[in-house]
């Protein structure tokens, strides 16, 4: 009987322990902050005695850290913590694998990137970095790259992408480029040139001379081709430009002006408008066969078409209802539905690469706005506002929108500069992209692979 009692007690005790495992105060936290995550980016450690063209390996390590810092800061999701003189002590190399987390925590860093860079015998650079969870004292990711020194910026962008992805859960957009129209000269006779650059404004190259007026470039999904509008021979037509070869060719043999081109998501087609005898409709051309299909047939202006990422739908701009509004139709031109119903005029719809939103330009009472709405027209949000904001283009992860902004003119007719800007999907973190000259019509490349 005593044994039984003991057993009972033991079992009861066990039951109690099991229950007590769940026995907790439960705290519901549903209020948080959306501040940038404090992250420390240290210079990649490298030898100052190994010299590559343009500097020592150590210099490259510092430059790459700067690029990563700039990328992450510009995203608005990170705040780089300056290590200052704090973390200089100790052997750099051992601390690379075994950072002193309490030091980093003390200066408020929650994530830490460190790494090294060295010169290989074959002349390439070996770049290695690790991302650490400072509060959890653990490694989150680590990657190693081998590259020719001239690619150092790309490698830095790839590192930024890896860090961004690991910490936010979604793809980065730093290893991307932007094609746009560079503008110079007086507004009444602007010289416009196709230009391309990294998304941070570096590695800038002009692609055309400015002899012909060029407008609205857009990337193919491979980022190797651009479709754009050129006034070559005073005949505005849609052209293709191959970035590698520099080759340009006219797309199709349309009797009227072709404009507003955009690639299909698979890159096999270009959708565009043709204006013929005063009426603009939407056409799509198969690039391989050059077969042309007409998608809209209406006396209204139908333009600015953009495919959904699954290629099943096309959103476009039309004034068929009396004023400019945004419409969505099936990819074959059927089931045309109006989706914008707010006051003012809506134009330049562009489908997000994630498929969940359509970005647009809206005009209302003398102002221009960049905004987004769901493909069914609901959930409209305006992200930017100015005298003239126009032409949104999405970062490949669908989180940032780039557009151009024109300043008003003063009374003497001066001013009116155009520049590129980015804004986060939240409507915050508006930033200007620095370009050598004035800039308009940006188009963001997909992730370069």
């Amino acid at each position: 009987m005593r044994l039984l009692k003991r057993l009972m007690t033991a079992i009861a005790g066990l039951a109690l322990t099991i229950f007590s495992a769940n026995a907790r105060i439960v705290v519901d936290v549903n209020r948080g902050h959306a501040d940038p995550l404090p992250i420390a980016i240290t210079d990649l450690v490298g030898s100052e005695n190994d010299i590559v063209s343009g500097g020592s390996v150590q210099d490259y390590g510092k430059r790459m850290a700067l690029v990563v810092k700039a990328d992450l800061t510009r995203s608005g999701l990170f705040r780089t913590v300056d290590s200052g003189a704090f973390i200089k002590s100790g052997n750099a190399l051992t601390s690379l694998r075994n950072p002193n987390f309490s030091n980093w925590k003390a200066i408020g860093a929650q994530a830490l990137m460190n790494g090294s860079i060295s010169l290989q015998e074959d002349g390439r650079l070996k770049v290695e970095f690790r991302l650490w969870d400072v509060l959890g004292s653990s490694q989150m990711t680590g990657l190693r790259y081998y590259t020719s020194p001239k690619n150092w910026r790309r490698i830095a962008h790839l590192m930024s992408d890896a860090i961004y992805k690991r910490l936010t859960g979604e793809s980065g957009y730093f290893d991307t480029r932007v094609v746009y129209i560079s503008e110079s000269g007086p507004a009444t006779a602007k010289i416009k040139r196709l230009a391309i650059m990294d998304q941070d404004g570096y590695n800038h190259v002009f692609l055309t001379t400015g002899k012909n007026l060029v407008l609205t470039p857009r990337f193919s999904p491979t980022a190797q081709e651009i479709t754009y509008l050129s006034y070559h021979g005073d005949n505005p037509r849609v052209y293709l430009y191959n970035i590698d070869s520099g080759k340009q060719e006219i797309l199709g043999d349309f009797p009227g002006m072709t404009f507003a081109p955009r690639f299909s998501p698979d890159g096999n087609k270009v959708i565009m408008s043709q204006a013929y005898k005063g009426n603009s409709d939407i056409y799509v051309m198969e690039l391989r066969t050059r077969k042309i299909q007409r998608l809209t047939k209406h006396t209204a202006i139908d333009t600015s078409p953009s495919y959904s990422p699954d290629s099943r739908y096309v959103t476009f701009n039309s004034d068929r209802g009396g004023s400019q509004q945004i419409y969505v139709m099936d990819a074959d031109g059927k089931n045309i539905k109006r989706i914008s119903f707010g006051k003012g005029r809506y134009s330049t719809p562009v489908w997000s690469p994630r498929g969940d939103l359509i970005a647009f330009t809206r005009q209302y009472k003398g102002k221009f706005y960049i905004g987004v709405m769901k493909p069914d027209g609901s959930g409209e949000r305006l992200l930017s506002e100015s005298y003239l904001d126009e032409g949104p283009t999405w970062s490949p992860n669908g989180r940032v929108i780039m557009f151009f902004r024109q300043q008003p003119y003063d009374r003497q007719g001066r001013g009116g500069e155009t520049q590129l800007w980015t804004v986060d999907l939240t409507g915050y973190n508006e930033r200007q992209i620095i370009t050598p000259l004035e800039a308009s019509d940006p188009a963001w490349s997909p992730l370069i692979r």
Partner: protein, 275 residues
């Protein structure tokens, strides 16, 4: 002998089960009977009340705002969905110096912040906690209120004690929530597309000084490494960072250590991302 064990097992299970069912029923019977609140807990309880008051918009201010608005609005934009009602996390409002935001601010704050859940809306959890504490007493080195109350004979007194306990647990939970918010420990994961299913439960064990004992653990931690669950992993990591950043939890009442030694903190970004 074997039968006896089985019988006793069944008996215990029945007792436990009936306890689980019965205790909440007592409480629901006379929810207004709560009279005795341990003095040392009032501080935390007061915070709860104070916060509730803070939430109330100042009526005077509200009127002032309402008066201001028509005058301030230069651009007669149609009523747009508030900007902050985003599917994306929102960086600090202060960081964007925009006029139009200013005059909408009061509304936004209200929209953005999840309504406070009042104690009475979550009885189930308290019951579990309450039961747990009751059961946990075996492991407790010194007798607590429950222990003392348990020795008394009268039913009504027990009733009060359970309410009491609930109040204490609630106050502690609210204090921790407030601590995490006030110290900006939780940075909501950025970029999550559909916030649904990103609720993260973290199990935490604290020492008597409020320091973390061992690593906080994510329930469902296996999900963190699954492909395609990057957003959950991000959410989970943000929750772990929050728990660690906010340690030590040394503001908790030392004499109630038994109550807060083990706890679960649930981080739910849904209001932040979709609200």
């Amino acid at each position: 002998m074997r039968d006896a064990i089985i019988i006793s097992l069944v008996f215990h299970v029945v007792v436990l089960a009936s306890g689980m069912i019965a205790i909440p029923m007592w409480r629901d019977d006379k929810p207004t009977e709560m009279r005795v609140i341990p003095v040392e807990m009032i501080t935390v309880g007061e915070i709860t009340k104070l916060r509730a008051q803070e939430k109330k918009p100042d009526p005077v201010k509200k009127i002032a705002d309402a008066k201001k608005k028509p005058a301030q609005r230069k651009v007669e934009m149609p009523p747009e969905p508030p900007k902050l009602a985003s599917t994306m996390p929102l960086p600090d409002i202060k960081s964007k110096p925009k006029k139009k935001i200013k005059d909408k601010k009061p509304i936004k704050t209200a929209v953005n912040r999840a309504p406070r859940i009042t104690p009475k809306t979550k009885p189930r959890r308290f019951n579990v906690g309450k039961l747990a504490v009751l059961l946990d007493k075996r492991e407790q080195s010194e007798p607590n209120i429950i222990e003392k109350l348990k020795d008394r004979d009268f039913g009504p007194e027990k009733q009060i004690s359970s309410l009491d306990l609930e109040q204490q647990i609630l106050s502690i939970a609210d204090a921790i929530d407030k601590h995490i918010f006030d110290n900006q420990c939780w940075n909501v994961p950025a970029g999550a597309k559909g916030a649904a299913g990103l609720r993260v439960t973290v199990q935490v064990r604290l020492g008597p000084d409020g320091e973390l004992i061992g690593a906080p653990k994510v329930v469902q931690s296996s999900r963190m490494t699954m492909p395609g669950q990057e957003f959950f992993r991000t959410a989970a990591e943000s929750a772990l960072r929050a728990v660690r950043k906010c340690a030590p939890y040394d503001f908790l009442p030392k004499d109630k250590y038994d109550l807060w030694r083990d706890m679960e903190i649930i981080f739910d970004p849904e209001h932040m991302l979709n609200g």
